[in-house]
Symmetry: C2
Subunit: 518 residues, 2 copies
């Protein structure tokens, strides 16, 4: 459908460029910089020994065998019955042999295709990606106001995803375009993701027909045959903890899995409320829920790629409110990573999700508590890696660009330390000797630019200079950067025939679909 | 000198308590809560394989053999000559056998004694401590103004260190009391640390006689004989990278090591300026510098406890300014940890040091980038764990209490995950079953309070509640908490005889010492 050479020619031909003050802040060159998928070159961190991971695994199996799990969908229950599970109503008890046999057919790695093939990425094994947040009804806008999200905001976030080199996906519902009626909203969400970025995106799961529309739109971009077999989007189905897969999620799951489109099977756990008040207990339960969902995908289409996952935040046991980047959230992430490796599955976690209302110190402490764990636990699909505020209720412009830049640092981090120039570096020590300095050595001149990551949104200037520039905190600098990036944005090329067919599809479906929730 | 029972009786007898609004924020009970030294129960993270650590080690040895290192002090150079090193002027070349033999006599662990024995801590092995920052000329005060530090500020920070349960030390020069003439300043710094807290503190290193005064004051508290053999303070000597140990640092080092008082041998490396523009090269150089300093301590007093260490920040290669919590700073920390383990040495790193001017998002991202690495790299003396802003130029009140609370979370984190109630937790899953919730189960009621860390300075309340309370960011909440803590502060008991002898000592030394720099 699209090819890289054509694309970059079209981008070059468009001729619009950011100038003056904005150019200084943005400093990008055409075509837009984008890092390839991250290939992890550092070891994983194992928080607990293998026996502890095995113990958790065993407890998860027992839950599925003894308590069972609800699949609240007649078709799904029937599929389980035919597969040999013990099914009573919607309660499904799955013995460990059946469960693990099904899970074993899920590939350890797969390619997620983008409409620009240069932006396609591998998921699984040593390959990881950073993906922006999803699902915020509110935004914290360019003037630091909290308000409902709009289609214009969503367009903006897709533009920022496109412009952020370390983000490997455009997500989809970064914020909800609240002015569009719910039955038609999905059309404009997917359309925005496709038009404003050329990176992989995410599917819609709120109803069977919306999932089908998403696939139909993907087919206009990638071609029918391609979408029937090749992953072009990732979708999320959350288990309702404890131990319920509901019909809406299962409907979307079936649509996507039948097309070989990967789904994240991620219990959304508020630990202490929808799980027990125990980190290890919560992990064992969430693992059982995820395994049951994963196994079900293989009843739908054996061998289809899927993503193991978790979203686990602890509940503040005094107020009942979900927290974000706290101690146990990071610890549980390491356990989920160990379990994913045990099952040889690609897995998803969340990178920069926080409870903070603002892009303030709380957000920063929470964010890097979690991202450090996401990186060291070997997560493959590092979601909510840009924008997330207020337990997911809000996507912040400043938070988005702050996170996106921090992802650049984490990308380097996971790429490992370079020993390539070690000999030269030691030669420089000999050359400089006691009491000298290294600023003028050939080694420094050669390695000046790439030796150390220098995030531009972090201010390391003198107090005097920072004062003269208005004493802006990182939140204010982030908003300025988001504005500058958006002002300099140019859309990636899209085949005019594809664009027209998307327009036609949306127009037709808008005629067919109601303009309010039925 | 002091004992716990007496202390708590005295504290109880003092009868002053925080009330009303402040009590709600502070919620502490007498005696003041203090966590014992952290016993790490999680594995360390090894960023690179053992061969890579060995390679760095070998390059460090070569530097000391071939290039050598300056000990710019005649006595020190003479001691090296007598030990068998190749000494020309102040340039000392140390062969690997001599170097490693000397380093091998440093104990792997030691006890750092506090004037309140209940606050004494172990350093090394599985034992780690959190220590507040050191050395700021400026403070960011309770009204968020940046100004010179004063003795009143220093007193306040020592009070906050005392009141923070996860801080294991009072440091010493948290901020400089700028109004006190430099030749007399050390007396009031140490006096403040001793009077306002009962935790271990840090020595003064800016001149030989100031180190001697520090020891003299310690002797008034602990007794002469005790201080001649038992660690009661930790002091810092920075190598001037590259490869220079200067006379001032060596003077202090000799005073302390002769008394068996541990010194941190920590090159202060601005990577890219005082080291090569290579993370691995910087580590090899800093390691050589630290090893040479450590070996020298064993010429002064064989078997004396010492602390291996590093302070490494990358320089922004565009502006030349030091950065804080960036990618490579964390990566280098893991290498230093691996080297420390190779040498079986207690080691120091920095936890929450940042370049940010404010307690804002930048500070948070920087801080937890580093603390996560400090914890997982197995650091024993986790310094700059409270207060640090602006590359160490500023100690912030809000940052101090924010960091101190975050240390509580990291203390839990390093304590590992509990499997103790795993069976009960799984029984709760059986009890609740699919579609239920856990809030009323006996397990939840039993584990409600301690299951998940809920930092009070992080706001997880609803947007509406947070709005109604003034939309305060974490920086503002931190300042409010610092004010409340200080308002509720009560001094730990100090033997009146000791207090009087300290007064007398200071009065005498003030008569003897000039009131301006000579």
């Amino acid at each position: 459908m699209v090819n890289v050479k054509e694309l970059s020619e079209q981008v070059s031909a468009s001729g619009r460029r950011a100038g003056g003050r904005q150019a200084r802040l943005v400093q990008r060159s055409a075509p837009v910089a984008a890092f390839p998928g991250l290939v992890r070159k550092i070891p994983v961190y194992e928080l607990v020994p293998e026996e502890a991971v095995e113990l958790i695994h065993q407890e998860s199996l027992k839950i599925l065998e003894e308590v069972g799990i609800d699949f609240r969908d007649d078709e799904a229950a029937g599929m389980w019955r035919r597969a040999g599970a013990d099914v009573r109503g919607h309660r499904v008890r799955i013995d460990r042999a059946l469960l693990m046999q099904l899970v074993s057919t899920i590939p350890s790695e797969f390619t997620l295709n983008a409409r620009n093939p240069a932006r396609s990425v591998r998921i699984g094994g040593q390959n990881s990606v950073f993906v922006p947040m999803y699902g915020a009804p509110y935004v914290r806008d360019l003037d630091n106001q909290r308000r409902y999200g709009s289609l214009a905001d969503l367009n903006n976030f897709h533009k920022l995803a496109y412009l952020s080199p370390a983000l490997h996906s455009s997500s989809s519902i970064i914020c909800e375009p609240m002015e569009i009626p719910v039955p038609r909203r999905h059309l404009h969400i997917i359309d925005s993701a496709i038009r404003h970025s050329d990176k992989p995106f995410m599917g819609i799961v709120t109803a069977r027909e919306r999932a089908e529309d998403t696939l139909a739109m993907a087919k206009l971009v990638f071609g029918d045959a391609f979408v029937n077999d090749n992953p072009v989007m990732v979708s999320i189905t959350n288990c309702n903890s404890p131990l319920v897969w509901d019909a809406t999620m299962l409907d979307a799951l079936k649509v996507y899995a039948r097309h070989n489109q990967p789904v994240i099977l991620a219990p959304f756990a508020l630990c202490g409320a929808s799980t027990s008040a125990s980190s290890v207990g919560a992990v064992a339960q969430v693992n059982a829920e995820a395994l049951a969902g994963l196994a079900f995908t293989q009843l739908v289409r054996p061998g289809s790629p899927q993503i193991y996952g978790q979203f686990m935040v602890a509940v503040d046991m005094k107020s009942g409110a979900p927290m974000g980047g706290t101690t146990e959230a990071a610890q549980m992430m390491y356990l989920m990573g160990a379990l994913a490796r045990k099952y040889r599955l690609p897995w998803r976690t969340s990178g920069f999700h926080v409870g903070s209302k603002l892009n303030d110190a709380q957000a920063g402490y929470e964010a890097n508590m979690l991202m450090h764990a996401a990186i060291l636990s070997g997560a493959h699909y590092i979601w909510h890696a840009a924008g997330w505020l207020e337990a997911g209720l809000v996507c912040g412009y400043s938070k988005f660009v702050t996170d996106a830049e921090q992802c650049e640092g984490w990308y380097r981090y996971a790429g490992g330390l370079s020993f390539d120039d070690f000999k030269e570096a030691m030669a420089a020590v000999r050359e400089v000797g006691p009491g000298g300095h290294f600023l003028g050595t050939q080694h420094t001149l050669d390695h000046f630019e790439r030796a150390f990551f220098a995030p531009k949104l972090m201010d390391f200037s003198s107090f005097e200079q920072w004062s003269a520039e208005g004493e802006n905190d990182m939140d204010a600098r982030g908003r300025a950067r988001a504005k500058a990036l958006l002002a300099g944005y140019e859309a990636p090329a899209l085949d005019p025939g594809v664009a027209e067919s998307l327009d036609d599809f949306i127009a037709r479906r808008e005629r067919e679909l109601p303009d309010s929730v039925r």
